[in-house]
Amino acid sequence: MRRRIRGAALLPKRTARATVQTLKRIPTAGRVCFVIAFVNAAIWGVVVPPFQVPDEVVHFAYAQYLAQTGKPPPQGPGAQYSPEEEVAIAQLQVLPVIGHPEERGVLTAPESEAVHTALAAKPEPLGPGGSTAASNQPPLYYALEAIPYWLSPSHDLLTRLALMRLLSALLAGFTVLAVFLFMRELMPRTRWAWSVGALVVAFQPTFDFIAAGVNGDNLLFFASASTFLALLRAYRHGLTLKRGVAIGLAVAIGTLAKLTFIALLPGIALAIALLAWRALPSGRRKALLALGTTVTVAALPVALYAVLNVAVWHRGGGLTAGGLAGATSSNLASGQVVTMRESLDYIWQLYLPRLWFMHHAFFTTNQLAGTWLDGMIGHFGWLDYTFPVWVYKYAEYVAIGFVVLALAGLFRLRRAIRPLLPLSVCFLVMAVGLLASIGYAGVRYQLNTGEQFAQARYLFPLLVFYATFIVLVARALPRRWAATFGALLVVLAMAHGLFAETLTISRYYG
């Protein structure tokens, strides 16, 4: 008994030691990429004024409610924001600035003093937790954000927000580290590819814009990248108990981070089945144990959340708290039914040109360029300012060139990639699941509101493929040129990030 108690007491020490050992195993380059990504995202967090990151107002509201009460918002019909946040939004001129690129926020000292004076009057930090676009989401990201919220040396909303933004930057750093490790597993003999893949993500300005603010997407991106990494690692080295735990943890974090992650689950399930099947020759019992552990670690926290949701927080809807039902319901607010054919047409047209037999025309422009490529180049703020039009025009030519080069790179690496084909199919199912879910929710949103739904950031759970794509572009060149070309692509990404930052400074402060 005494030995057991001593063992339990030593557990944190052992865990800390194991963590340090794990960190030491990460190559220095990976740690450097992590720091670069964190610093870059933290800079973005200072550049973008409070609440100008898309949906930051609602994500902050959720985190504040959770920090104040210890539970997620009830999603009632009451006010969405706390009185304190309402004051901040009004004084910071958040609403006049959103959607008006010619408008600036707080530009003068008296306006800034007015913000601080209004917040110093200590308006109530707890609101009724009324329904918002974020309040149906699971609470993990917001629970994490409650830590800097309470660690803040000042109870001032703006200080808290600044520290909460740092957590998002930290998650961006971890996402980039996961991408680095993914590239290492994917191309173990090509060292430069690890850093090139990670750094193009670290300097991607749309990714950084989201990492600049309080937004649940940041945990989703990290969990998705970690899931791809854990699956690839288990595929390369075999499914063991430890790797099963890693997969399960990544999946649990993703599912509790944002409902979007559910779209990846069919592909993940397929991948886990594949991993278990490949582990069978080394012992049926061992394989089943690893499989069981993976599923249990993934499912247990999610099941616990579902029970808490219904039984303790009384939010209803189990895991989804009504959010999934809202996004996937066949009926629109008007009572009109969205048919499966309509949904399929929309999903197709969201990524590819409309075909002759499709009755429904949802878009007047090519979405592949207009939404996805242009969005990756940069639709910043609340999608209210962009680079000059010519940038997007030339970026299309560059993108076409990159696609051709990436295909050439893929062809060059066909032998190295062949063993990964079975897992690639699972990854493809994950990707298609995500694309389909964006379209499925998008058609309902568009028919309900008349506004377009999709944004480039919705694809960022697939950031590991973005990194892979850029490395494939570089690999199109002969081996002796590939590393140099890869380095140049990173410089291009850095320049892209730099000019996006100067654009952002001119938008809000110029």
Binding site: E103, T159, T484
Partner: protein
């Protein structure tokens, strides 16, 4: 060697583009009262429209949205008085500008600190004009037409004089960067952010150099 030359050339290109971007001159904002163009305040032929506002440091021109209904915009005179009634700045637009957004140049760019006060616009024309603004409850923050509160706030934007490059605006940007943020941010924030970014760039280039060579 090949990598070194390629990286150096690419970085030179980026630095060149950055310098070019920073050297682009354009009219720059000095401040705004955040009023959107949602309604119109109609004035009689002789009118004095006053509204409380902040005169921002460096203001050289006042931008107003004026409708003249088929005519040219008449002569407009503006004066900005501080809380003690002292005239801080004034300006005049001669008659003849086309309707829409008009720029009223101030006699001298305002060199003082951002100051709260009242802006008054005098119109003396053979016809009434419309001033763009938004509907609000009549009161101390709404426009006062000939001394009477109106249910409108008019758009008042301030531009700095002439055209400026981003280099010229840098000192102002460092100040603005701290506004509307946590109290611990200050004029140091923008320079420190720039240095950190430079550090991240150097680290990235060093890493690429080490890993790719």
């Amino acid at each position: 060697m090949r990598l070194r030359v390629a990286l150096a050339a690419a970085l030179l290109c980026v630095i060149g583009l950055f310098v070019l971007e920073m050297s682009g001159a354009a009219p720059r904002s000095a401040g705004t009262n955040h009023v959107p163009p949602l309604t119109t305040l109609l004035t009689p032929k002789q009118a004095k429209v006053c509204q409380s506002d902040i005169l921002p440091a460096g203001a050289g021109r006042v931008k107003l949205l004026v409708g003249a209904y088929g005519h040219r915009v008449p002569a407009l005179a503006i004066g900005f008085r501080g809380p003690d009634g002292k005239l801080l700045s004034s300006g005049r637009l001669p008659a003849g500008a086309p309707q829409g957004f008009v720029l009223v140049p101030l006699r001298h760019p305002y060199r003082g600190a951002d100051t709260s006060g009242t802006l008054c616009l005098s119109v003396d024309s053979p016809y009434g004009i419309g001033l763009g603004g938004e509907p609000i409850a009549p009161g101390p923050t709404s426009a006062q037409l000939n001394g009477k509160p109106e249910p409108t706030a008019i758009i008042i934007d301030y531009l700095r004089p002439g055209r400026e490059t981003w280099w010229q605006l840098l000192p102002t940007l460092t100040q603005r960067f701290a506004y509307g943020k946590a109290a611990f941010f200050g004029t140091w924030t923008l320079p420190v952010a720039a240095l950190l970014l430079l550090g991240a760039w150097i680290a990235a280039i060093r890493l690429l150099w080490r890993e790719a060579s």
